[in-house]
């Protein structure tokens, strides 16, 4: 009887120590769900969802404060991926937050730029190069096309140019063929 009790007590202690140790050792940093949602979001950091970036939106979705259909750059496929991840019904994109547009990059008209640095401060990914009273330019490969630099420009010298299809980014098309007509 006593042996059994001691054994159970010993086991409880041992397992308790193991559990306690592993809880400390393998502690999950941050919310894995937020990271998973963030990985699906397109990282344009455009704020069209109403949150100041993709991570805050991901956090809001994880908390249940935001809906999954607020991200126009992610498009329908992004919304479906979120629905898949969260196990909810897909729903059409909320037009209040804007409509999906073809991917574009910002272009500064360098003849008009007055070097005010306002766009540099607005860019969420530091993709604009320049200094006060010096001409600014966009690093096209870093630009996410978020359009956040367009509004602050006092001389309206920034425009959004859709990315043209070129040999480098061309994709094979989905095969289309006509079926044989019968009767």
């Amino acid at each position: 009887m006593l042996t059994a009790l001691l054994v159970m007590l010993g086991l409880a202690l041992l397992l308790g120590i193991v559990l306690g140790y592993s809880a400390l050792k393998f502690k999950v940093e941050g919310d894995p769900l937020v990271d998973k949602i963030d990985a699906i979001l397109p990282q344009t950091q455009c704020g069209q969802c109403g949150y100041p970036g993709c991570k805050p939106y991901a956090t809001a979705i994880a908390k249940g404060e935001a809906d999954i259909n607020q991200c126009p750059p992610g498009g329908d496929s992004g919304m479906r991926a979120l629905a898949d991840l969260l196990g909810v019904e897909p729903k059409p994109l909320n037009a209040e937050h804007g409509l999906p547009k073809p991917k574009s990059v910002a272009v500064i008209d360098e003849n008009l730029c007055i070097g005010c640095t306002l766009c540099i401060q607005a860019c969420p990914v530091d993709a604009i190069l320049g200094a006060a009273k010096h001409m600014h330019t966009i690093i096209a490969s870093e630009c996410t096309g978020c359009e956040l630099c367009v509004a602050p420009c006092p001389v309206d010298c920034i425009s959004m140019e859709p990315i043209q299809e070129s040999v480098a980014n061309w994709k094979w098309r989905y095969p289309v063929y006509s079926l044989k007509q019968t009767a």
Binding site: K55, E142, K171, W172, P175, L179
Partner: protein, 553 residues
């Protein structure tokens, strides 16, 4: 001698159509009209342009140099003047224009000064680095820069050097004709590759439908100081694929996630070996190539043409296209693609041009549903499950397609060839592949954007803290100043106190002139004092009256 041959699973026997274009020897075509040289003639980075419109260049002169590890240089195919550098139609399945250099020949066809060297005396590493400016790429059609594959011996670990003369695709005969006519050049190129890589074995693989080429190669190899075996492999499409040929000759299957060089094997096309020979022994850069022109033309054959020559000039050399020609195919009928126009130039990857016509390539019969007969799986030389890949690609289930090793597919077209339902399977795989590549690129861009955004937020936070720290520091400075002010105040107070004391002392001291006064003067002083006292007594009253008046009013 090769002791025995191995096998690979699958493969098909499409009609060969090779006899049409092997009837006449290789013709060397002169430069005709302007040449258009696309920068994108190889796998990898676009080269950097070194010339400007208006520049006069000599044949073989470097026009654009390789950028980064995987890239190839572009040279002038003849002497002449650079007319323009702009987007032009190029031979690419997209049909989209791309950056090209246009060269107006001066008719002299003058080489730049060539410096032929004896490669046996040269340092291997130096030879490899000089390959970067040679412009040599895989001439079999893949156009992979050769300098990557010819890393020097010792460290290379290459045990078997395989020279690919299989040329398994129907219609194409440029390697066949090259082996028949210029076997010695090929063998000299193989000697150089042998010198650079230091392999234990060297095998030339030729399909058994090219007996003349085999004989020529055997004779040339017998004359060589290096021991080179010639192996004849059975005609079976796609035995010319590098990995299939490796499997046939060595029995080694290169793992899907590795390069053949990782398992000690390197494979080169015969035409690449000629280019290597010409570069090291004659000093000539890649300025021309042999192209098979066949299909619906009057006199099919093989032509050595300067790069950049328009396809129309090739067709003309082949006697012109026959009636009913409805387009050009670059490459073979199995893996090639339709050219966007007849004006596009010959590039380093152009091994064959087929004028298509309904009599050769009738319109495909209607597509029927997949009946899961699995003939495609039997034909697949890579042992994939084409029918499964088809479902995944069709439903755009890209993750699953990747899981089923879509990227091991060599797009040989065997599955489409045997499909009884005429499903364009390879088109689905190409679509799925490019979709996956695009998604991966987007993901990479998103990761970069996330990283940059996080860095920016961190920087803003850090700047905020730095500013706060600076403010705190300034505030602390102000406090120190106020401590000084306290000290000043104390000093002032001390002075004030001293003055106060002095005043008190002064008050205590009686005025000297009040002593020893006469009585009359004393009486006068007393009277004055009384008057002053009266006046001071009356004044507050008057002030009070005024105050009351103000309050009432």
């Amino acid at each position: 001698m090769i002791s025995r041959l191995f096998k690979f699973s699958g493969g098909v026997h499409p009609p060969e159509h090779k006899l049409e274009s092997t009837g006449q020897p290789i013709q060397v075509l002169p430069v005709s009209g302007t040449l258009v040289l696309p920068l994108r003639q190889h796998v990898g980075n676009l080269p950097k342009i070194l010339v400007q419109p208006g520049d006069h260049v000599l044949k073989g002169q470097l026009l654009a140099e390789a950028v980064g590890a995987i890239s190839a240089a572009v040279h002038a195919p003849t002497s002449g003047t650079i007319v323009s550098i702009e987007d032009q139609s190029i031979p690419h399945p997209s049909g989209l224009p791309d950056v090209s250099i246009t060269l107006n020949p001066d008719g002299e066809n003058r080489w730049m000064p060539l410096n032929p060297t004896d490669w046996r005396q040269r340092d291997r590493a130096e030879m490899i680095s000089s390959l970067r400016v040679s412009g040599i790429v895989g001439m079999g059609g893949a156009a992979f820069p050769t300098q990557i594959k010819l890393r020097p011996g010792g460290g290379s670990g290459i045990k078997t050097l395989i020279i690919n003369g299989a040329e398994c695709e129907p219609y194409i005969t440029c390697d066949d004709m090259l082996m028949r006519e210029r076997a010695d050049e090929i063998v000299r190129g193989i000697e150089i590759a042998h010198y650079l890589l230091g392999p234990e074995k060297c095998i030339v693989g030729i399909e058994d439908n090219k007996p003349e080429a085999e004989r020529a190669m055997r004779e040339a190899c017998a004359r060589s100081a290096v021991k080179i075996d010639v192996a004849v492999v059975p005609t079976l499409y796609p035995s010319g694929d590098a990995r299939r040929l490796t499997a046939l000759l060595t029995g080694i299957e290169v793992p899907s996630d590795k390069r053949s060089s990782d398992v000690g094997i390197q494979v080169f096309n015969v035409a690449t070996m000629t280019a290597v020979y010409r570069y090291f022994s004659l000093g000539e850069t890649v300025v021309s190539r042999i192209v098979t022109v066949t299909g619906n033309v009057a006199r099919p054959g093989n032509f050595e043409v300067p790069l950049g020559t328009p396809m129309t000039a090739l067709l003309e050399a082949a006697g012109g296209e026959l009636p009913n020609t409805n387009g050009l195919i670059m490459g073979g009928p199995m893996m090639g693609f339709s050219l966007p126009s007849m004006q596009v130039p010959v590039i380093k990857a152009t091994n064959c041009i087929i004028a298509s016509a309904p009599r050769l390539f009738p319109a495909p019969p209607p597509v029927l549903p997949c009946i899961r007969c699995a003939r495609c799986a039997d034909a697949c030389p890579v042992s994939l499950q084409p029918q499964e890949l088809y479902w995944f690609a069709k439903s755009q289930n890209l993750d699953k397609a990747r899981e089923y090793k879509l990227f091991d597919c060599i797009e040989c077209g065997c599955c489409s060839y045997v499909c009884p339902s005429n499903i364009p399977l390879v088109q689905y795989y190409r679509f799925a592949k490019s979709e996956i590549i695009a998604q991966d690129k987007a993901k990479e861009a998103a990761n970069l954007a996330r990283e940059r955004n996080e860095f920016r937020l961190e920087r803003i936070e850090r700047e905020k803290q730095e500013r706060a720290a600076k403010h705190a520091q300034r505030a602390a400075g102000a406090k120190a100043e106020s401590a000084d002010a306290d000290a000043d105040a104390a000093k002032k107070a001390a002075i004030a106190a001293a003055m106060e004391r002095a005043k008190a002392q002064k008050a205590e001291v009686q005025p000297k002139n009040t002593e020893d006064l006469s009585d009359a003067a004393k009486a006068e002083v007393a009277a004055i004092d009384v008057r002053r006292a009266e006046a001071t007594a009356a004044e507050p009253e008057a002030a009070n009256v005024v105050k009351e008046k103000q309050e009432n009013g």
